[in-house]
Symmetry: C2
Subunit: 205 residues, 2 copies
Amino acid sequence: MNEYPSILLGEAVNQFASLPGMGRKTALRHVLALLRRSDADVERFTQSIERLKKEVHYCRRCHNISDTELCPICAAHHRDQQTICVVENIRDVMSIENTGQYNGLYHVLGGVISPMDGVGPKDIEIDSLVARIQPENIQEVILALPTTMEGDTTNFYIYKKLSVLATPCKVSQIARGVAVGNDIEYTDEITLGRSIVNRTDYYGK
Amino acid sequence: MNEYPSILLGEAVNQFASLPGMGRKTALRHVLALLRRSDADVERFTQSIERLKKEVHYCRRCHNISDTELCPICAAHHRDQQTICVVENIRDVMSIENTGQYNGLYHVLGGVISPMDGVGPKDIEIDSLVARIQPENIQEVILALPTTMEGDTTNFYIYKKLSVLATPCKVSQIARGVAVGNDIEYTDEITLGRSIVNRTDYYGK
């Protein structure tokens, strides 16, 4: 006999197991959990995915996910409209929003430049970022991309593009250093090295 | 603003996070992974769940999951039709099938007796198990329930029910002992104690 006693079950497990980082045993567990629920509950589950896929928008300005044409962040008048934080994906927007420390706008690239994966500058939202600077009168662009080779390449590419604009804006990047609560002893050399090179003034706080 | 920039996204994340052992961050990761796929792929995902929920059967004899009225195991003529292995759920059937060591039939209880959770003997498939013994001329019932208080209770209840039948059958339970490859030193006392009490003859193999 097959691995699964039912072809339908096997197909549903396959679909779940195709999600990132999900093994076949966990997939089976989720599918059986769904199977135990009422018809209405299962319909609510599948419809939430279908509706999201069909009805969701991407903000026409910052490319963040949104229910409307302009996302709630871009539409918020109380936010600082002259600062853009450049991030790789929408999860990064949520992480930064959760800190409560940033009050500007975002720009979601939808990826980073990665020649190995066939992702070039035209495949991500760099041109639309550059096109925002002058019309929106942006004063500062904060680069918050991952510290990988791809992230660094993308940072550099954006920096070059912005520096040739007729009205250049300030370009900064988020601080890299020893994480709060981490021991110096167990911090990797590159991070610790950067934290010394990029040390900041001590205000006695 | 909300935790998620889109209500639709939040709803899909809520639905995923309702699955067993899935946190909100993992749920978000899965939802965004689905969102990146093509419409056809997402439809295949949701339809596999809908079809499973609508079209799947439970075997009328052993209550295993099945695409047909009689599951492939019950329908297999080459299997030993006089032995029933009693398990808690369909995942246990798959685990035992994967060993390749068992060639009889199954009976899926769909749970174990658990007064704390309000599960009594009538809520699981015990009566249908007892009803199978005489018509099917069953010679042996193998109890393969979990070694918990609930499992032990269920074992004992089934044993009592079977012992008052006009044609009693043999009742056995799967062996408990030190797992293959495990150190004696690190085996818990209860398991090690049982493995000594229930020691088996050594055939010099």
